[in-house]
């Protein structure tokens, strides 16, 4: 009852910061607790399937055959486990996927300077040269890696969406974005970046393929219709099978929304930003250490699952992940086979029409496992949904293989030999110790490249 006296008119509270503030450090003195919590994002510690150590995804205990599967694309050169928000700028700078052809759009989810640049530059931001214009400009503006101003209004600290791509995409699905609830915002701030995207064909704008829905099949349909109509057909041509491919990226938001937690109204922030008592217990804040919730289960899970033994619950998560990863590896393996079979179709002189038909299945088959592999929770964000996607992937890769078997047999190709050669080439990739060179081992004289050598 004494609380009324303390009440202040919320509308009048202001931080005193400029509305254009983009430096994390400017928030430090005002919000030392959140700032300290944010600083924990520099910690590096792994969990069984995820974690925060900068490690190659090509390592033997991760997905060693990715250099085959992404052959001919930057993701076959360097692809790492993601880590703390604090490293976003450092990592985007260092990655070999950035070349002189890279565009501004690549900075979109890494730097606090982006919203202002979009405002100032309009479409020139998206298509601008990353190395020559965009990055130097962001540095000059004094940007931070993913920071307070990306999610908060610097003057009121209200949560806000700073990446227009998200709003456009939600509206494309008919979702009203004019008056989100507090709960919605606890998903939306993450949905700005942890999503599947592509660069629009005309201006390079970061675009989310959501008009038909969030499921893998909905996004695939979008790519086959709307995206194609608008001139976007592929991310690259596969170097083994010559297929025009799509690359899937981190659909954490889409996967979570369709999963058991998302459907129950649980948000990203509930698990990844649980309430945390700091300053020796005196104060309670939202944790700003975005990492694996398996490191903070007491805060992240026990609030809702108060009647569960936490060791049991962790065990359950690991079971889900084990089942998931085994199936993922299987789907990847069948996808690999489909690429090499089609390579053999090409070199054996099978008709264009049949090759094209097989490539369509390859493209689809890879999409349905990649959208699962690219998601970050090893299946936990939607166990049944992810498995369903792998099921479709296997069907499609197999459809390509079926076609190849028929045509190759007609041409008198010895399939036993093809199988042996596939095992050999896989082994060469696996055994190569230098992760950067693995991609070269995916191609050899038996399975020659189907794409001009990747441009530098």
């Amino acid at each position: 009852s004494g609380s009324e006296e303390k009440a202040t008119s919320a509308d009048e509270l202001k931080t005193g910061l400029s509305k254009d503030e983009i430096s994390n450090e400017a928030f430090k003195d005002l919000f030392p607790l959140q700032y300290d919590s944010y600083k924990k994002n520099d910690r590096m510690e792994d969990t069984k399937y995820s974690g925060s150590v900068k490690r190659s995804k090509f390592d033997h205990d991760k997905e060693p055959y990715l250099p085959v599967l992404f052959n001919g694309y930057g993701f076959a050169t360097e692809y790492n486990e993601d880590r703390g928000h604090i490293y976003a700028n450092e990592d985007v700078r260092a990655i070999a996927r950035i070349t002189d052809k890279s565009i501004g759009s690549c900075l979109t989810c890494k730097s606090t300077a982006v919203p202002h640049m979009i405002e100032e530059m309009g479409d020139d931001y998206w298509g601008g040269s990353f190395n020559e214009d965009i990055w130097p400009k962001a540095e000059a503006m004094g940007h931070s890696p993913i920071g307070c101003s990306d999610c908060h209004d610097p003057q009121t600290m209200d949560l806000r969406i700073t990446r227009p791509s998200f709003i456009k995409a939600m509206e494309s699905q008919g979702i009203d974005m004019s008056n989100p609830t507090k709960n919605d915002m606890r998903n939306y701030v993450c949905g700005q970046c942890h999503v599947e995207y592509y660069f629009a064909a005309d201006n390079g704008e970061v675009t989310f393929p959501w008009a038909n829905g969030f499921k893998p099949e909905d996004m695939y349909e979008y790519y086959e219709t709307t995206a194609k109509e608008q001139g976007f057909e592929k991310d690259w041509i596969h170097n083994v099978s010559g297929t025009p491919m799509l690359k899937a990226q981190h659909p954490d938001y889409e996967t979570h929304i369709e999963g058991p937690h998302g459907q129950a109204g649980v948000t990203c922030s509930d698990c990844h930003m649980p309430y945390d008592r700091v300053e020796g217990g005196k104060k309670k804040i939202s944790s700003h250490w975005w990492t694996s919730p398996l490191k903070t289960m007491d805060q992240s899970c026990a609030t809702c699952h108060s009647n569960r033994d936490l060791d049991d619950l962790k065990e359950r998560v690991l079971n889900i992940q084990d089942t998931h990863m085994e199936a993922l590896h299987k789907a990847e393996d069948i996808s690999i086979t489909s690429h090499y079979y089609v390579n053999k179709m090409i070199t054996s002189g099978v008709s264009e029409a049949k090759i094209k038909e097989a490539q369509e299945h390859i493209r689809k088959g890879q999409w349905f496992w990649d959208i699962v592999a690219a998601e970050s929770a090893a299946g936990f964000h939607n166990p049944q949904g992810a498995m369903d996607s792998l099921r479709v992937s296997i069907e499609e890769s197999n459809a390509a293989i079926n076609l190849a078997i028929e045509e190759l047999t007609k041409k008198g190709v010895n399939l036993e030999e093809v199988k042996t050669e596939i095992e050999k080439v896989k082994k060469a990739v696996y055994d190569e110790k230098d992760n950067f060179k693995k991609k070269e081992k995916a191609i050899n004289s038996y399975f020659p490249a189907q794409q001009p050598a990747p441009k530098k």
Partner: protein, 174 residues
């Protein structure tokens, strides 16, 4: 530090007094009843959420102590109460550094609470054997806290400026 001690509100002083009193056994029945009550327990900031969820439950008519203190014998009740009470005071003053990040009922609490469910609901339990699981809350997960793991507030648009007002940082942190 001095400022901080003076800052302890009146209820906290009463709390300290009462538990000191229990130890020397010179308190009135009325004071004791007060220290079982929702008003008293929720006078601690840290108890706000559990109080809110409790007030919204079918058990809102009870006192916190009805569940959280042992009722098998009077001696037991007050020994436990003095111990638990002093623990709370300790945590809220000198022992702040040791307050857990998230409050969960301790194992001891769980046992006490479970006994209390059983003793109030004897009739239901006699009627149908109801002891299939380790504790009542294996099934009755949300009795009395946590019905709707989110308050209605979450499903309304945020109030402008509320993050400044409510939590964290140097702004009006309470």
């Amino acid at each position: 530090m001095l400022k901080k001690l003076l800052g302890i509100d009146k209820k906290m002083l009463l709390f300290i007094g009462v538990f000191a009193g229990i130890i020397v056994s010179v308190v009135t029945v009325k004071t004791l009843a007060y220290t079982d009550s929702p008003e008293f327990c929720s006078s601690c900031h840290i108890m706000t959420e559990v109080h809110d969820s409790f007030s919204d439950s079918n058990h809102a008519g009870l006192a916190c102590g009805d569940c959280h203190l042992p009722h098998d014998t009077v001696v037991n009740k007050y020994t436990y109460k003095a111990k638990a009470g002093m623990t709370h005071v300790y945590f809220n003053t000198l022992g702040e550094a040791k307050i857990p990040k998230v409050l969960h009922a301790t194992e001891g609490s769980h046992e006490v609470i479970n006994e209390n469910c059983i003793s109030c609901h004897e009739n239901t339990l006699q009627n149908v054997s109801h002891d299939a699981k380790d504790s009542c809350s294996s099934c009755h997960q949300a009795v009395p806290h946590g019905k709707g793991f989110k308050t209605e507030d979450y499903f309304k648009p945020p109030k402008p400026g509320e993050l400044l007002e409510n939590k964290g940082g140097t702004m009006n942190n309470g």
